[in-house]
């Protein structure tokens, strides 16, 4: 079996004095959608930030195409791995077009700051996210769903073959959540993009993931197909959640139905 493009080997990640993830191994399956789930503070975002080189490992290593990601030139990494942080912020008044054009930064040099290739990539990223007609609008004036699409569009303009998204659908209503996930899935099917996402919604995670990764206390406790991972035992062990798991009548993927306290009392 060939080596996956993005891997973590015994990686140790943390902030200041606090180690969040210690000695973790993680292979990202190529050209598939991997979704990381887990309770708050379990280290999902930390792991994603480490994989995306936003956080330098304290130990072990993150490997991109077999090379240590923190030793590679930063621009090379940015041309291969696109990262969308959890709550990105743009300066007031920045237009969508300008934001998306920033995604071309890793492809530019001080002597050649804008090329026809850049223009094409930006036009593509805007049209695939349905943002072309909003290119002139300021990012801070958009609705939550549009803003998230604008940021995804910027990440797409980077034209990377790997995409790491940290909670891309938080704060969106259900229709917009599905909208964004459909877009990500289409990228994956049409362009073979490898996607790693952190999601909180277990049912949507199960529906869109090829591989589901469950984390708890900085460790990966389960990894595999959604129906293998998302079991009633796991929900109880990892999330401390009393729930029933049934087959989703729409997609056939696991559907988590929490058993709330007042229902338990009645039973």
């Amino acid at each position: 079996m060939t080596r996956p493009r993005l891997q973590a080997e015994h990686v140790r990640l943390g902030y200041d004095e606090r180690i969040v993830v210690d000695g973790l191994d993680f292979d990202v399956a190529d050209q598939s959608v991997t979704v990381i789930i887990g309770p708050n503070g379990c280290g999902k975002s930390t792991l994603l930030r480490g994989m995306g080189r936003l956080l330098r490992p304290r130990g072990g290593s993150v490997l991109l195409d077999g090379k240590r990601i923190d030793k590679l030139p930063t621009k090379d990494v940015a041309r291969t791995v696109g990262v969308l942080p959890q709550t990105p912020s743009a300066p007031a008044g920045l237009t969508v077009g300008d934001l998306v054009a920033r995604g071309r930064q890793p492809h530019q040099h001080w002597y050649r700051q804008w090329s026809a290739g850049d223009e094409d990539a930006v036009a593509y990223a805007l049209s695939v996210t349905g943002m072309s007609s909003l290119a002139d609008r300021a990012v801070d004036e958009l609705s939550g769903g549009q803003r998230q699409r604008a940021w995804i569009s910027m990440t797409l303009a980077q034209q990377t073959s790997l995409l790491l998204l940290d909670e891309p659908i938080t704060y969106l209503d259900l229709a917009h959540q599905v909208d964004v996930l459909d877009l990500v899935y289409r990228l994956h099917t049409e362009r073979g993009t490898t996607v790693v996402m952190v999601l909180h919604d277990l049912n949507l995670a199960a529906r869109y993931a090829d591989t589901l990764v469950a984390m708890h206390d900085g460790r990966i406790v389960s990894q595999g197909k959604p129906d293998e991972v998302l079991t009633e035992e796991l929900l109880s062990d990892v999330f401390g959640l009393d729930a029933k798991v049934v087959a989703d009548p729409v997609a056939g993927t696991p559907l988590v139905l929490p058993i709330s306290a007042h229902l338990r009392d009645e039973a």
Partner: protein
Amino acid sequence: MSAVRNIEAVPGRKQVRLGRLAWSLRPRSALVPAVCLVLLVLVAALNIGRGSSDIAVLDVLRTLAGGGDHAETGIIFDLRLPRTLAGVLVGAAFGLAGALFQTVARNPLASPDILGITWGAGVGAVSVIVLGGSAGQVSGAVAELGVPLAGLAGGLVAGLLLYVLAWRRGLDSYRMVLVGIGLAAIGHNVVYWLLTVGDVDDATRATTWIVGNLAGVGWEAIGPLALALALLVPVTAASVHTLGGLQFGDDTARGLGIRVDRARAVVLLLAAALAAVATAVAGPITFVALATPQIALRLVRSPQPPIVGSMILGALLTVGADLAVRTVAPGLPVGVLTAILGAPYLIFLFLRTRKEARA
């Protein structure tokens, strides 16, 4: 087919292509600096014309172009040009320094005066003035060259201190502003302490310098100033393309392949050097570095302070303020006017920020 064509691949971003190269065309980002440049030439000519015997603007322009009579050529080139030229260069340096600080700090409050850079330069320069006078042993050429050099050194030390003290696993912009305000307060007080140490004459000389003054600047200061800018401005221009990414959060900037901490350090050091060089020549002309980038940003309607626009507008503001002061109250240093303008602007900035935070 012509080599240059206009296309509109991305809606709202008209652009010009030449072979494989393309630039997005923004009328305002070219128009505003152009208009400011024309105004600058006019104001500069007016300012040069001012003096014991006024010279008309057209005569000044003709003389500068090499067509003036002997007397006017002598007056303008030997006596009057250095003051205005210094205003242009110093203003441009302050404008650029302010734009860089504000982009790195992502904060419109960040400017060399607020962050203590100019006060660091002040400590250096005033030390030499005071110690170079009757109270100290420094004299002659050292005192002559020493003021600008010590100012430069002081400003750079302040910039370095700012970076080191604000650093804690990365450079946080909010911490940088707070540390800078602290540094400015210290610099402030050291300067005043130095004034009490020196004798009255030195203190008077130092005070004029502290306020910011273009009156005394001669050709001997223009050379080093122009040389420093000729070195610093191209280096800045080459590092400008990372500035666009630095305006985002750290994670986004890193995701774009920018080495955030190194890029910030480079830009910060360049900005400190520009501010220090300018302060060394003319003293801290407050408000120029603070307001120029924000005004330029609004005129150009760009999301971050424009580099060229800030330079030209900084020069225009400085020379304009000098002209205004000379017209209204001859003999008053230019820094007095900019300080009077600066205080209400600062209050406006605070009020506006609070409103935005609430919205």
